[in-house]
């Protein structure tokens, strides 16, 4: 087994994980919310991207845009349905409602897109580069580049300027934020729209790597969970590092030990880390 190839795979996978998880990181960091329909938004957005390319004949970059818009719409619909629960911070009900939304999305995807696995072919899948005797596709490079740019942009937005300050105020105390004249309702909608958009973007970029089925998404939500917790809940930089670390670990474990137990091993790492450092690898400063 080629170490360089596994490392490259791990780096690509890691950036994919980080990108898939970032919506939930912000959701948890700013709004203290969870979304167990996260994986199904991923699945639906993957289908939307495929459908835009295969059925509508749209260019791939436009299809990514369509998927992101679909993600935003789904996020807004979910938040509209859960607004009262959000204000009450009723996490158990939110968990159940989002799980329900996830199942509905799976059903809708089955009805609309059918039960057959689909393959999303993009112009980037065919372009390959050689690095030290190993191969990487342009699609993989795109995942890494977009993830890095996305995280940098998000870091800048949250660290500087009034938008990030508003997010930090709502994260710390939504009630007090109202007294500063902030429409917390709008912030919650914006955060859920961002969650939908981010996971849709991830799906549009990552889905070409695997067949698209209505039952994908479960693994993505589990990975997201691991990344968010490992990274220190709500920490943007922590999520990036945790995603990258998990990707490299999964690739190396899969390459040198057994791909079948890679997810199991990832959970083992999660448990060990949580026992040793309950706040995650990064010291969990919300929304940083």
């Amino acid at each position: 087994m080629n170490l360089v190839q596994q490392l490259i795979n791990g780096i690509v996978l890691g950036h994919a994980y980080a990108l898939i998880a970032i919506g939930w990181t912000v959701l948890l960091g700013v709004a203290r919310l969870v979304n167990f329909g996260h994986g199904q938004i991923y699945m639906l957005a993957a289908f939307v991207t495929w459908w835009s390319v295969a059925a509508l004949g749209l260019p791939y970059p436009v299809a990514i845009g369509v998927a992101v818009v679909a993600g935003i719409v789904i996020g807004l619909i979910m938040q509209a349905a859960m607004l009262r629960l959000t204000f009450a911070q009723d996490l158990v009900s939110i968990m159940i409602v989002t799980l329900g939304f996830g199942h509905m999305m799976r059903g809708i995807a089955g009805l609309v897109f059918g039960g057959n696995p689909q393959v999303l072919e993009t112009p980037l899948s065919w372009v390959e580069f050689e690095i030290a005797g190993s191969w990487v596709t342009a699609q993989d490079v795109a995942i890494v580049v977009v993830a890095i740019l996305f995280f940098l942009l998000l870091h800048l937005v949250l660290e500087r300027g009034s938008l990030g300050r508003t997010a930090r105020m709502v994260a710390e105390d939504p009630k007090l934020a109202q007294l500063a004249g902030i429409d917390v309702r709008r912030v919650y909608f914006a955060v859920f729209a961002f969650e939908g958009a981010a996971v849709a973007l991830a799906a549009a970029l990552v889905a070409p790597r695997t067949p698209i089925l209505t039952n994908i998404g479960f693994e993505e939500v589990i990975i997201t969970f691991v990344v968010v917790v490992l990274g220190g809940i709500g920490s943007v930089a922590g999520s990036y590092l945790a995603g990258l670390g998990l990707g490299i670990f999964t690739a190396l474990f899969g390459g040198f030990v057994s791909p079948a137990y890679a997810t199991t091993a990832a959970f083992l790492v999660l448990i060990v880390v949580l026992v040793l450092r309950p706040s995650g690898l990064a010291m969990g400063r919300a929304s940083r």
Binding site: S162, R165, M169, D173, K175, L176, Q178, L179, G181, I182
Partner: protein, 242 residues
């Protein structure tokens, strides 16, 4: 002269239990009204209800007018945007933000012609805050947090300011400082409704005093007259009723 802030038939209930029942309460321009009463009399409930704000989920009914405009149905942030601001009990500030960010986060809406304190005025009023701009609010003392909370409210350009027990937990000398500052703001034409447990200190600075008991107004009147009110004397100023 019409009141800046006026509440009519304001009722607040928690789970069916009436906690507050105020037929009429008005705050005139440039007036400092003190709301006093024992623990649980409904003082905080009153100011929170005026803003439609609460950490719990009370049901609130009645009419609230700010500069003649009915605001009783608006969400809290919209009332803040119209110029009604609240400094809740305990000097609530954003602990994880720096003093500078706490201040920057509070801004009067663009295009409003209300008077908002600019940075220089804030620092003139609270010089301590200028020295601690880069500190996180969590590192401030209780008194400094209270200053920051009031400063934030002033940055929002309030028409009427609701202050909920600004003196709580402060050393006696600081209490006098805070109340003197509030009086100074009122002398510059700000209208303030001040909830205060320290009746002895409050009565020195307010124009009018409202005495609450079990969610109802028991007595109200000019501070000078209330000073001799037997109910105030007996309960709060530690003297036997005449």
């Amino acid at each position: 002269m019409s009141p800046v802030l006026e509440a009519r038939d304001l009722r607040v209930a928690y789970g069916g239990n009436l906690a507050l029942d105020i037929p009429h309460l008005a705050l005139e321009p440039g007036e400092l009204v003190g709301v006093v009463g024992a623990n649980g009399a409904g003082k905080s409930t009153l100011v929170n209800a005026l803003l439609g704000w609460s950490r719990g989920t009370p049901s609130v009914s009645g009419s609230i007018r700010l500069d003649g405009e009915e605001i009783g149905q608006l969400p809290p942030h919209a009332r803040v945007a119209r110029g009604l601001t609240l400094v809740p009990e305990g000097g609530a500030v954003f602990m994880r933000l720096t003093v500078e960010d706490n201040l920057a986060a509070a801004q009067a809406p663009r295009g409003s012609n209300r008077r908002a304190h600019d940075e220089a005025e804030i620092y003139a009023l609270f010089p301590r805050l200028k020295e601690r701009l880069r500190h996180h609010a969590s590192m401030l003392s209780g008194g400094e947090r209270q200053m920051l909370a009031i400063a934030r409210a002033l940055r929002l350009g309030p028409r009427a300011l609701l202050l909920d027990e600004p003196s709580i937990g402060l050393a006696p000398r600081l209490v006098a400082d805070v109340l003197r500052t509030v009086r100074g703001l009122v002398d510059e034409k700000l209208s303030v409704l001040l909830v205060e447990q320290n009746v002895r200190a409050a009565i020195e600075v307010v124009d009018r005093l409202v005495l609450l008991e079990r969610g109802r107004i028991l007595a109200s009147g000019p501070a000078a007259a209330m000073r001799d009110d037997p109910r105030i004397l007996a309960a709060y100023l530690g003297e036997a009723a005449a």
